[in-house]
Symmetry: C2
Subunit: 324 residues, 2 copies
């Protein structure tokens, strides 16, 4: 079903449909919440797709489950492995645990303790690296050589992107007449899955990506017309530090309407606003879309906007407003 | 419809049904959430009725709306007034704001700033008193003399109790075969409303009240067979400091199965556990039921238990685990 373009295996909407059937027994169909106060504040109608309530606390349970449960028994025999700044690691561990196969996750030693604990809690193994893309890739190569595990990349993988596309499929099934969808962008897995689904089901719907100013490589890539990658940017939105790769860049450059950015203080304010008004726990990365909506009111005013809340795995002892 | 018993106007289940019809346009039908991890931990099946997602962030929007919208135009002309350690004040302000009548709330000067801000945010007036029952009642008498406002007591009021009873009505409509329901107890409004509904619809269902050890006057009253009131107890569960009154005592002594207590550290641990695992923001008072379930596993193991999450209004800058 996948299309081969310039040597890449590009997933199609049929892959999203197949993924949805495959992962349905393992994931939650998450709720869509609204807030009259946030609608009043933004002048838009916002529909929050709450993947913070997803299994393992993040949308990445979708893509990881699709990859793990799509493996043949032979392909699964040596287990799976990945590198991840957090949620993909725990979500792959969750999926591997459900299938009963081994899983190894290479994580920066600086990753939140809660995320390391989550990986180990699902029975997977953590191998630490330095907090840079280069170190992560080097350590990971050793792990794969040692275990023979199947590599499931956090986002540059057609199985993962097809899995993430199930989120937008549920959203537009639940909410009619959306004008736009906005999601955070790090490596671009969720945005790519969203593009894949919406380009098939609702091609006129606008797709926005929201990015921290302090890790704005996707926005600069989008403006420049080619991938720009930074090594080890620092932002409170710790899930969004990784760069685009070939496959996600394909979707971003082809389907994304615009990439908007917000500063770290704006992200923290938006996060507190959602906690306070919507009574949901979500991580800083998930607040970037609301921060950019508040910063660009003219873009969203009067529109019906789907907002993807990507995850809820935050260290409650190290909330960003505690240390400021 | 109310029964007159020993000089008290006791609401009946018909009043709950009437309240539900009256307040339906103004409140949320809140979701019931479950957590496999918390079920595994307790050995029970827990069904969390999430009044933290209620209008104004607490179940008290139900009773306050029933009182406000049940007033005749003449009865509403001078507005409403109350004293409240927090949520009843903001919820009465919310209801008065929706009806467009004035509202005055007497609050302890030590009440969380977030709760004072909420009252003012709904357009009501805050009058401060000392943090004791005696001071609160004295200051309140002055307010009523000055305004002629209709007093809506936070819990010792049949209209309020009938309104709170709509919560258990929704819960047992949504979840079949519950063995028990557990709710926090302060003044006893939610517990009384729960008793009112369940004694009519499911008289064999057990009803537990959960109370902080450091404000355990309801438990001591229950054991002694008469109301015991403390002046100004201190606990992290700041919504549960007030004593029982005649009307709530009637329901507690007649229908409650048992009153269980938990220490402040146990309450904070249960609160963090819910935030971390269920990704919902709820206040310390709402964590008391889970704390007592964890402390009394033999009482709940194997049972289907409705857990009323009473509210989500917490000061994010003063979370209880920040100051320890």
């Amino acid at each position: 079903m996948m299309k081969d373009i310039a040597g890449m295996q590009i997933p199609t909407y049929d892959d999203v449909v197949a993924a949805h059937a495959r992962i349905a027994p393992h994931i939650h169909r998450t709720p869509v919440l609204t807030s009259r106060m946030l609608n009043d504040l933004t002048g838009a109608e916002l529909f929050f797709k709450c993947e913070n309530f997803q299994k393992a606390g993040a949308f990445k349970a979708r893509g990881a489950s699709n990859a793990v449960f799509g493996l043949s028994d032979a392909g699964a025999a040596n287990g799976v492995a990945t590198h991840s700044s957090g949620n993909h690691g725990s979500c792959l561990s969750f999926a591997a645990g459900r299938r009963g196969i081994p899983c190894t996750v290479v994580m920066p030693r600086t990753a939140p303790q809660a995320k390391k604990d989550a990986v180990r809690g699902y029975g997977a193994r953590v191998v630490e690296c330095e907090p840079s893309t280069s170190s992560r890739e080097a350590v990971f190569a050793e792990v794969v050589a040692e275990t023979g595990a199947e590599f499931v990349h956090p986002y540059n993988d057609p199985r993962v992107i097809a899995g993430q596309g199930t989120c937008a499929r549920e959203l537009i099934d639940e909410v009619e007449g959306l004008d736009a969808v906005i999601a955070p962008i790090g490596g671009g897995g969720m945005v790519s899955g969203t593009c894949l689904t919406l380009s098939a089901l609702a091609p006129s719907m606008k797709i926005y990506a929201a990015e921290p100013e302090q890790a704005d490589d996707a926005m600069r890539s989008f403006r420049a017309g080619h991938i720009i990658a930074d090594d080890a940017p620092e932002t409170v939105a710790d899930g969004l530090k990784v760069p685009l790769k070939e496959l996600t860049w394909h979707f971003v450059k082809t389907y994304v309407t615009d990439i908007l950015t917000a500063s770290d203080p704006e992200i923290v304010e938006a996060m507190k606003l959602i906690w306070k008004r919507m009574k949901i726990v979500m991580e800083p990365s998930s607040a970037v879309p609301l921060a950019t909506i508040l910063k660009n009111p003219e873009t969203f005013r009067g529109k019906r906007v789907g907002v993807i809340v990507t995850g809820g795995n935050v260290d409650l002892d190290r909330l960003p407003w505690m240390t400021r």
